[in-house]
Each structure stands twice: as C-alpha cells, then as structure tokens.
Amino acid sequence: MSKSQSTEPENLQAEEFSDEENAQYLTFELAGEDYGVDILRVQEIRGWDVVTRIPNAPPYVKGVLNLRGAIVPIFDLRERFDLPFHEYTKDTVVIVLRINSHTGMRIMGVIVDAVSDVLNANSEKLTNAPDFGGRVATEFIAGLVSAGDKMVMLLDVDKLLSQDQGDSELAVAS
C-alpha cells in the first residue's frame, strides 16, 4: 500500500460538531484539483500495478487486475474526465472502491495522481455544486466542501462508475 505525501495536513483539520452527521472523505488530487470520496467506499489504496488490457474497452478503462482473486477493473480518472494524460509515477495511486450498482456491490479501482488526507465534513457544509462548467460533469459531483483554503469536490462514485454498466445493456442487445 503506498500513500503519497499529504499536502498541508494542518488545513484539513477535524471540525467539532454537535450532532450533525459527520462523514469522512478520502481526498485526492487530479490534475491540480482536489476531489474526495466517501471513506466508507474505500476498500484499499494500492500503488499502480500492471493491468491486463481489455479489448475494445473505452480508453479510460485501463484493464483489470487481480485483487486477491477478484478481477477488478481499473479506470483512469484523468482520461475519464478528458484531462491531459499524465505519466504514471511512483506517486500514482489506485484507489479501490466499493460501488453500489443496480446489480449489487462491485469493486473497481480508479487511478489518481496522489492521495491526500482524510477529511471530516459536516454534511451541512456541503454545498451543491454550481454548474461552473468544470471538467468533471456536475452530475458526478455530490457536493463541495471547503477544507482550509481548498475546495474539495466530492464525487458520487456510484453514479460515476455505474455509468459503465449502462453500456453493457446495449452491448448485450446487439
């Protein structure tokens, strides 16, 4: 398990809450922006490893790898969001996520530039993402949270990665 250096941990401090719902998010960097995913969805964090390519898959699907006997697809989030390609370095990290899809729970991995720290966020503090024409389609953003001087975009991973299941219906029908 590799984890990149956290950036300015002091800014992402735990906040005191009385009785508000307290969710935790794993934050990571992607093309200079900060994103977060629900910590409960994170199964593990791995370094980049060789994957087996899947023929005729969308380009952001890098392939599959063996995770203790399970075949797990790995997505490159940069490519998914049409961001410029970034060479995989020793900091490159794969976040393995548990996704809720209409067929049940799935395990999928996403390649990100680097992992930051865990953020506690009061659900109150979540603001709905304005349509600011950002790189990431706003339908995948569950909300925004400020952490210190950063704006962290919280990803709805279920939506994001379940998208690809939709393709399968079409594929089968043909």
Partner: protein, 696 residues
C-alpha cells in the same frame, strides 16, 4: 416416559414430500377411462402414509385433509368409484394444497386456512357427489350400555375356540389383563380336555368362568377381548342389579376419526377449479423458490461420490507426505523423484477437483420434474391437447445450472404451448394430429450440456417477425437478414408478436430475459423453425461453470485463453493457402471446407502483435455454435486448467470474452468466447450476405 417426537419430524416431512411427488406423477399419468389399478394403489399408499404419519406426529389438520383424499383413492382402488378427469384434477389441486400445508408446517409457518377450507370443500363435494356405498362409522364414545356409574362387578364366561392360540393370543395373557382391572375369581373348566395321547398342544380346550369385582367399565373388558372376539365365545354380564341385557362383545371398535359427511355448499366450481389450478401452480413454484430452509443451501449427494472423494484425499495425503519427506533432505539427485511426486500431486488434485465438481452435479430431472404438471395444467386451461415427451432426465448438470435454467425453460415451454401448438381444430385443419407434442431433451455433447425444447406447432413466421421488427424500427426496411437473424429478433426486449399478451407466457418477461439468463450461465441459445411444421430452441451450456481446460495463445505481449473444447486443431498455413473470396474476406481451405480467418489482433485491438503475415503466425481452428473459423495468433503457449473468474462481477460482460483467469504468476489472462468472437469478427456464415447489423 415421554419421547420427543420432534426428532422424527424431518424424516416425516422428507418422505411426505417424496410421497407427494409420487402422487402427483401418478395422477398425471392416470388415464381416466383406463386407470391402472396398481397405479391407483401406489397413489393411495402415498396418501395413506402421509395420513398415518401426520396423525402420529400430531399434525391433525394435515391428517384430516389427507384422510379425505385417502378415502377417495381407496374407493377408486376398490373399484367403488370411477376415476374421472374431474376427480383427478381435484386430487391434483389437493396435492398442491397438501404440499403447502406440509411446507408451512415444516417451517413452523402459518397455513392459509382459507385455501385448505376451499380445497377440502372440493374434496368433500366430490366424495359426496357420486359417493360409493359409504360405511357409516358408528359415532364415537361408549354405547349406551348400562350407564351405571357404579359397577359392582361382572360375570365373564370365556371360551376360546380351538384355534385361538394360533393367532398368537395367549388366554393366560387375557386373564392376566382382566386381573389387573379388579378382583378376579376364576373357575376353569377342564372337562373338554382329551386324554394326553390325543391332545393337540396347539389347540385350546379350556374355558373359564370368571367374576371380576370392582368398578370396572364394560369398555375396558371389551378392550381386552377386542382382538379375539371372533375366536371365542364370550359373555359379559353385569352383576349390578340395574343392569340390562348382557352386551355381547361384537361391536366394532369405533375410531376416533369421523367421516366427513358434510356436503359443502356448491360453490362456483369450474371457475374455481381452474383458478385454483393456476394459483396452485404459481404458488407451488413460489413455494419451491421460497424454501430456503435447507433448500437452496444444501444438496443431496450419492454416498459413493463422497466415498470416492475420501479415497482421493487419502491418496493426496500420502503424496503430500512423500513430498514433504523429500523436502527435508533434498539434493539434486532426487530431482526426478521430485518431478514424479509433483506430477502425482497434480493428478490427485485434478481428480479431486473433478470429483468435487461431480458432487455439485445433479440430474436435470430436478428441473424437468415440474413440466408434466405445467403442461397438463396449461394445456387444459388453453383447451389444447398437448403431450410432453422428456428424454435425458438423467443428464447431470451443475447445481447452479439446475437452479438458474428453470425459469428460462419454463418460459420457453410456456411459449411453445401458447404460441407454438395450435388449437386442436386448427391442427386438424392443417392435416396434423390433434395431439400436439412438446419435446424436452437434455444431453451431453462435447463439453456442453444441450437442452432442446421442440414443438410441432405452427413455427415462426419470418415475414411476420421481420415486419414487426421493421415496424418497431429495430431493423431498417431494406435490411437483408439471414433466417437465423430473423428468428433471433424475438430475443429483442419488448418484442412480442402475440396479439394479446397472454398471461400464460407472462407480460414482457420476455425472450430477452431468457437469453440473458442463459448467457449469464455461459451458454447460448439457437432457434430453428419451419412455418407450419414447428420450432426448436436449443440451449447450450458449459458443463462446469468454474473450471476450464484452456490453450494459452499469445498475441503481441498479451496472452489469451482459448477453451480447449472449442479447438479442432492448430495449423500453420502459408500465404498461398489463403483465398480471398468475394465479400467473405480471407478464407483457408480445411479439408473440404473454406473457413474464414479471424485476425485476432485486429478484433481484439492488440497493437503490438508480432505476426502480421499469415506465415508468421499460427491458425487455431475453432468451432463455436456450429460455426468454424481459424484464429490467427502469434504463438501457442501451454495448455492448462484455469479457474474461470467473472468479468461481470465487478465490471461487465465484454463481447468476445467469456471471463478471466489468474495465471500462476498472479497476472490476469482473458478467456475468449469463441461464438462471440466469431460474431464480432462478422465471420459467421450468416454474415456472408450483405446485411445490416442491428445497431444498439
């Protein structure tokens, strides 16, 4: 001493369910005009057993219900009642209700009392309707004998007939029993005794004149002599002054059961019967599904399979300890022995693997067993005459297949019954026999299970299908489709040409779901049909779902697994053996056939393929779903057994791939789906014509 009967309950339930199956199949096979007495007898015995057991174990509602069924069957087997189609149907419906009752009771759940009441009413009505000369069982309770509450005593004269002892009844025992009731004085009459030389030791000569003093009810005395009443002369007189005439012990023992004479209110019968049938079928199917108590998670295994496994484990242990001993003091000179040991290990492991998989295999009769009933009920309901022929029920398939192939098969059979087989008058008009036939066959072929549903109905009309498809915009008006492709249109979601969606086939739970379910099992389905003659649906399923014998091939830096069962041969061909056929692409001649060449690196998008020219690589000749082609690869690597891992579990089904596996070095290799590949490459024979492939 109280014995807890609950320990016997499970066995009772198990055998009762089996008994119900016997009853059901027996009833289905019964020919009303011409019933086989032995058949009726076996159905009777099954009901009788269930009644007896349920009474003994305290399930009185089941006992009462079964009793009526048993009475009907008893009359039938004695010839006192006619076996009519109506009676058979009522009994069949009763079997369903009884099954529900047993299931509910076995799960400690509530039985629906309404259902039971309704069905019992049907049974009672049938019983009373054309009832045989029924014996009126005497009401329970003591007779109005000298109802004197106080008895001073009885005068009993007991004279056994000469043969009485040969029934195993010992007069001494009877006297002993009398003695236990009160004060007994006995006078024996030895007069009839012959001289010793003429004495037959097995005969009874003596008689006894007794007085039994005490407050004893006559019933108790009667009980003692119950078994021997016909084998003796007996007189029992009350000594109480108020007593009436002596009652002679000839009354029947009345049972605690009472024959239900009540005639149920004539409810609207026919509608109900049909409705009950349908509800019964549905409920039975849902009951079968919702039987998780031991149902889904346990399996009955032939003990010989377990024994075989135990033997193998034993051999494995021996090999393992041999290897470990070797490992303790190993030097290079032992390498041959090491190799042998490892080969042995591999053999044992493989054998065990096969053996364990065998354990998961069950005969497909488990799935087929519901069909006779289904066909019977539905054909009756539709007013069609349909015969079901099943073959290959002993074909063994994996338990998962059994569980998951049921619904698709039901749908396909219902489809044949509903849309395939015509009404009797239509069949006759078409010159066909009135009786339609639906065939259900299962067999092993190659590494596959083949299940076929065939009917001699009206077949699929290509024109109608095509027009419907064009109407729905699924294909363009000028598309040219092969027959196979036209038939496969019916697998499109929401595609039904039936004018009214009959509730028999289900609303839109259509063929698309059928095909998907079959694909999920790693199988495929093919249609053959001829208008006016009939249709056949052929399902192919892999024999084992988890493990595959594979040939590893390399293309560039990538490795893929080709299922060994699909491989015909591997050859190397030269440029000049390749023919370009107009509109068909590259083909090569194999014996008498021209087979298409599939350049895998193109189909799979492998960028660093090494072999570009035909003579640089190898051709793996494969067959899938009746189509053959040659797969062009760089190289053949080893053959190995691989564990099939699902791609869909975490990702989705990919065309051309049937799964993935983890190689010895931990890396993932993809398993090729040959039929899918052939389709993808557009090299199926159907694609030889110019055609439009359906766009998603």
């Amino acid at each position: 001493m109280t014995i807890d009967m609950a320990q016997f309950h499970q066995v009772f339930f198990d055998e009762s369910f089996e008994g119900l199956d016997v009853m059901e199949s027996g009833l289905l096979e019964m020919d009303p005009g011409n019933a086989d007495p032995e058949q009726i007898n076996s159905i009777f015995r099954a009901a009788h057993s269930i009644k007896g057991g349920s009474g003994t174990f305290g399930f009185t509602n089941i006992a009462d219900f079964t009793h009526v069924m048993e009475t009907l069957l008893d009359e039938m087997r004695d010839g006192r009642r006619q076996v009519t189609a109506e009676a058979v149907n009522v009994l069949l419906a009763s079997v369903d209700v009884l099954r529900e009752m047993l299931t509910a009771t076995s799960e400690d759940a509530e039985v629906d009392p309404e259902r039971v009441k309704v069905q019992k009413a049907d049974l009672d009505r049938l019983l009373a309707g054309n009832s045989a000369a029924e014996e009126i069982v005497e009401p329970d309770g003591d007779e109005a004998a000298p109802a004197a509450s106080e008895q001073t005593g009885w005068h009993i004269v007991f004279h056994p007939h000469s043969h009485m002892m040969r029934t195993g009844n010992d007069p001494l025992r009877l006297l002993r029993e009398l003695k236990s009731l009160g004060e007994l004085t006995v006078k024996v009459d030895i007069e009839p005794l012959p001289p010793l030389s003429e004495l037959e030791p097995e005969d009874s000569y003596l008689s006894w004149d007794m007085h039994l003093m005490g407050d004893v009810s006559k019933e108790k005395i009667d009980d003692i002599f119950d078994w021997v009443e016909d084998d003796c002369d007996l007189s029992i007189e009350s000594l109480s002054p108020e007593s009436a005439a002596p009652a002679v012990a000839t009354e029947d023992v009345s049972e605690s059961e009472q024959e239900a004479e009540a005639v149920a209110a004539p409810a609207p019968v026919e509608r109900r019967a049909a409705g009950t049938d349908r509800r019964a079928t549905d409920r039975r199917e849902s009951a079968k599904k919702s039987a998780p108590s031991g149902g889904a998670s346990s399996i009955r295994v032939d003990i010989s399979k377990i024994d075989a496994l135990i033997n193998m484990v034993g051999e494995l242990v021996i090999t393992q300890s041999m290897l470990s001993m070797m490992g303790e003091e190993f030097d290079i000179s032992q390498v041959e022995r090491l190799r042998e040991g490892l080969a042995q290990l591999e053999r044992h492991t493989r054998e065990m693997q096969e053996s364990v998989m065998q354990i998961r295999m069950l005969p497909i009769s488990f799935t087929f067993s519901r069909f006779p009933r289904l066909v019977h009920d539905l054909s009756t309901k539709m007013g069609k005459k349909i015969e079901l022929k099943m073959t290959g029920e002993a074909t063994e398939v994996d338990k998962t297949v059994i569980e998951k192939i049921g619904d698709p098969l039901v749908h396909l059979v219902r489809n044949s019954l509903d849309h395939g087989i015509e009404l009797p008058e239509d069949r006759v008009a078409a010159g066909k026999p009135e009786l339609g036939t639906v065939e259900l066959n299962a067999s092993h072929r190659g590494g596959n299970i083949i299940i076929e549903i065939k009917d001699d109905g009206k077949g699929l009309d290509k024109e109608v299908l095509l027009n419907k498809a064009i109407e729905k915009g699924v294909v363009s008006a000028d598309a040219v489709l092969s027959d196979q492709q036209v038939y496969e249109l019916i697998f499109g979601a929401g595609f039904s040409t039936a004018e009214t969606v009959s509730d028999v086939s289900g609303r839109g739970v259509g063929m698309d779901v059928v095909r998907r379910n079959i694909n999920e099992l790693g199988g495929s389905i093919e249609i053959q049909s001829e208008v006016g003659v009939g249709s056949s649906f052929v399902i192919r399923l892999p024999l084992t779902l988890a493990i595959l014998d594979g040939q590893t091939v390399s293309i560039g830096s990538e490795m893929y697994i080709v299922p060994l069962v699909s491989i015909i041969e591997s050859i190397q061909i030269k440029e000049d053996m390749v023919n370009m056929l107009a509109g068909k692409g590259e083909t090569f001649k194999l014996r008498e056939e021209y087979l298409p060449i599939v350049r895998l690196h193109e189909v799979l998008g492998v960028e660093d393929a090494k072999a570009k020219e035909i003579n640089e690589g190898l051709l793996v000749v494969v067959e899938g779903e009746g189509r053959r082609c040659g797969l062009f690869v760089d190289d053949l690597l080893g053959q190995q057994q691989v564990v099939i891992k699902s791609l869909e579990a975490n990702y989705r089904k990919i065309e051309g791939l049937s799964g993935a596996t983890i190689l010895g070095d931990g890396s993932v290799a993809l398993i090729l789906d040959i039929p899918g590949l052939i389709r993808m490459a557009g090299k199926g024979p159907a694609d030889y014509d110019n055609n439009v492939r359906k766009t998603a």
